[in-house]
């Protein structure tokens, strides 16, 4: 903490000091606003952050260390101030004056200490990706601190730096921080409630948002539509006009739903091929428009339907990128790896090592 504070130490000349030293900072807030990380211990949410109007109390060295012990991370503002010495006479100010230094803190981070590690959580609006906790920031030096402020809270940083030029009210900044922190805590609490409610809905019926996102993915992929158009504001307007929420974020769809959907398709294909005694294969090479080489593997089998008739099934097993030379040995290895993923056992027609993983019971039934 001291490393940061030393990096953000501003020297402020005494210029119209009374104009921005009105409301004092609340130095006892750390206990009430512990980081909301983790679902087990939700922190109490302040109903309304008070706007303080007591005289400003500068932070002395003891209070600073106490603040550090409480886990607050602060930016310090050091102000040089000229104070009168002695009593006034007949309304005249005292003739002697002395120069003092005061420090003011700007605390927008919570700090958690794990041994030698420090975790910093933004408390003025940044949420984690699951939206049920504050955002954990990876801060290793003061540059990260400034980067986060300038990227996410540029107004606060601008106002804070304006204090250096004596054109902003420092206490107003503190008030804004408290309001933002309270709103953030309230948002997190609501999100946690929504999450719990959503889980209850999912437990009863999964025809909820997750299914909607899967359907959106399937529609996009089946029609060759990218994920970006689904986040187009016009598409959002269309969904809102129908009374629906906008589509899920494209990164979420790609990172989470695309592998999930692919794994579901793989499971379906595996299930289709699980009871096959023999599988016919078809393979061919392809070069994309970006000159990338692929080899495609298709599997075919005869399936027995419920009315005992047979049906031929063909399924895409895999399309494999070939980065090097396309020799027969390479192709053999790639095709075998693709088939082994899907086919549990193979007839002698396809002579793999896997062919010995027979389902004896099924064979016995089929040969009766």
């Amino acid at each position: 903490m001291r490393n940061f504070s030393s990096s953000f130490l501003f020297s402020l000349s005494l210029l119209r000091l009374n104009s921005f030293l009105r409301p004092p900072p609340d130095l006892s807030r750390s206990a009430a606003q512990a980081p909301l990380q983790g679902a087990t211990a939700p922190a109490p949410v302040p109903a309304q952050a008070p706007i303080r109007d007591q005289p400003l109390l500068p932070v002395n060295s003891d209070e600073e260390s106490a603040s550090a012990d409480d886990g607050d991370n602060v930016i310090e503002l050091e102000v040089d101030e000229v104070l009168p010495v002695g009593d006034a006479h007949d309304g005249e100010p005292p003739a002697r004056r002395r120069r003092v230094t005061r420090k003011y803190t700007l605390a927008i981070f919570f700090e958690q200490i794990h041994g030698t590690d420090h975790d910093y959580f933004c408390k003025v609006g940044c949420l984690s990706s699951d939206t049920i906790s504050r955002k954990l920031l990876k801060i290793h030096n003061s540059g990260h601190f400034v980067s986060h402020l300038s990227a996410s809270h540029s107004l606060l940083l601008t106002q804070f730096r304006a204090c250096e030029r004596n054109i902003a009210n420092f206490n107003a900044i503190l008030g804004s921080i408290d309001i933002l922190a309270a709103k953030t805590a309230k948002t997190i609490e609501n999100n946690r409630k929504n999450r719990l409610n959503w889980n209850k809905v999912v437990a009863q019926d999964l025809a909820g948002p997750a299914k909607s996102n899967l359907l959106l993915m399937m529609w996009q992929i089946a029609n060759g539509i990218g994920r970006l158009p689904a986040n187009c504001p016009i598409f959002d307007l269309y969904l809102r006009s129908l009374g629906n929420n906008p589509a899920a974020n494209r990164n979420t769809l790609q990172d989470d739903y695309l592998p999930l959907l692919s794994s579901l398709v793989v499971d379906k294909t595996k299930a289709d091929f699980s009871d096959a005694l023999s599988v016919s294969l078809s393979s061919d090479g392809w070069r994309s428009r970006t000159r990338q080489d692929f080899v495609n593997v298709t599997g075919g089998r005869t399936k027995t339907l419920s009315d005992r008739t047979w049906k031929l099934q063909a399924a895409e097993l895999d399309i494999i990128h070939i980065s090097g030379s396309c020799t027969a040995d390479t192709l053999e290895t790639l095709i075998a790896s693709a088939v082994e993923e899907f086919v549990l056992f193979l007839a002698s027609f396809v002579k793999f090592s896997l062919m010995f993983k027979f389902s004896y019971q099924q064979i016995a039934l089929s040969l009766q």
């Binding site: 997750a210 899920a248 579901l264 023999s278 089998r301 027969a328």
Partner: protein, 424 residues
């Protein structure tokens, strides 16, 4: 295992499934037969045909490659489409492409269909089409005759492209029928009114095609090939005694086919099956094969209820043959399914998404093929199939996650509201 003709793929297939268990794509094979005659290394007596194809190729490039010509040609073709209801609706001229099946036929067909429009372009002196670009009477009639002769090739190619139908078993007799259709003088009546010399030229063309087909497909008929083994399970007598591929020792070939089926049926037994079980199985398979074949010979192959996929599984005295029959009937006769996959891959990896990560492309390609394969969105059945597959995925999703404790459910599945918050 079915591959196209590339050496590395064929070698990989041989190494993977064993020599004799790989099948060369019939759609590619039949195009090679055409290429043998119309290609650069074709026989000298088919030089006229190659010249016609080359001239047609140049003419298509001339019309499609010049803006003024193409604009005027498009106007004329639109007029033709609007005025002639019964005319086959071709949109434009296309060029032959060695990687596209039946492309020579498609190019010649369109040139013949748009002959009046091309002549109108030629007569427009402002367009400046040179005399040697236009097909002469003889060349045009030769092009027309070639469209007639190459028609049966297209029918064959269309058949072997069928999805999820028995195709390989029908290839031997279809090849036999194709050669019958291509026999010299078989198109004489249709071409009698054409220019002098066309009939003679086409007879030479047909005989060269027949020679090429017989050379390429002869080994399939003379051995216990996969196609002959598969054809053993189709009704009628189409499995033997071919007209154009007579084999002096046909009985010996049929015997080899039976032996291979027996061998494969034994191979489908568990690897730890003892010799006694293998001997018993072999005896039963041989007996069942004779009975099955005797019954199949009595059936009419043209009746839908005699489809081997419907008739064989209902035959109660031949279950011991079912694994082998299923194996041979499921073999792809062409790599058309792979070509469809590539068509789908081209849509997934289109020019606007060409920088997609390979892993994401694999995901999307797999999903798209599952959802769209064989489900044409323009037909009611296709739309129904597509909807059912999507619903099936949702059911799988439900089955996978409903059983999990809530705490184990994936966080990203929190739904739209969380995603919207994340976007903010």
């Amino acid at each position: 295992m079915t591959t196209d003709g590339r050496a590395n793929e064929r070698l990989a297939a041989s190494q993977l499934v064993g020599e004799g268990n790989n099948h060369h794509c019939d759609a590619h094979n039949i195009q090679l037969d055409i290429e043998d005659v119309t290609g650069k290394n074709g026989p000298p007596n088919c030089a006229d045909h190659r010249a016609v194809i080359r001239k047609a190729h140049d003419l298509v490039i001339l019309i499609n490659g010049h803006k003024v010509l193409f604009t005027e040609f498009s106007r004329l073709t639109q007029l033709k489409r609007a005025n002639e209801d019964n005319e086959r609706k071709f949109d434009a001229l296309i060029i032959n492409n060695e990687t596209r099946w039946d492309s020579e036929l498609a190019m010649l067909e369109r040139l013949v269909a748009f002959d009046a429009e091309i002549l109108e372009l030629y007569q427009n002196l402002d367009l400046g089409i040179a005399d040697d670009c236009i097909l002469t009477r003889f060349e045009f009639d030769l092009a027309y005759a070639m469209t007639r002769v190459l028609g049966p090739f297209r029918l064959f190619t269309k058949f072997v492209q069928k999805r999820e139908e028995v195709t390989l078993a029908h290839v031997p007799h279809l090849i036999d029928e194709l050669v019958t259709k291509l026999a010299p003088h078989s198109f004489d009546n249709e071409l009698r009114s054409r220019a002098d010399g066309v009939v003679a030229a086409m007879n030479i063309f047909q005989s060269e095609l027949v020679i090429s087909i017989k050379r390429r497909y002869g080994p399939m008929f003379n051995s216990g090939s996969l196609a002959r083994c598969a054809s053993f399970f189709i009704p009628g007598r189409r499995y033997r005694d071919f007209v154009n591929f007579p084999t002096p020792d046909e009985d010996e070939v049929v015997t080899r086919v039976k032996e291979r089926i027996v061998t494969e049926a034994i191979g489908l037994l568990p690897p730890d099956a003892d010799d006694e079980k293998k001997r018993r199985t072999e005896r039963n398979v041989r007996s069942a094969l004779e009975d099955l074949r005797a019954d199949l010979n009595k059936l009419d192959p043209n009746l839908p209820e005699n489809d081997p996929l419907r008739w064989i599984p209902l035959k109660s005295d031949a279950p011991i043959l079912f694994p082998a029959a299923q194996m041979f009937l499921a073999i792809f006769s062409s790599s058309a399914e792979d070509e469809r996959n590539f068509s789908s891959a081209g849509i997934t990896l289109n020019k606007l998404r060409s920088r997609m990560a390979i892993e994401n492309f694999r995901y999307e390609h797999r999903i798209r093929r599952y959802l769209t394969a064989g489900s044409d969105i323009l037909t009611q059945a296709g739309r129904q199939a597509r909807q059912e597959r999507a619903e099936e995925q949702l059911c799988l999703f439900t089955a996978r996650y409903a059983a999990l404790p809530l705490v184990n459910q994936p966080v990203p599945l929190a739904g739209n509201q969380a995603a919207v918050n994340a976007r903010r």
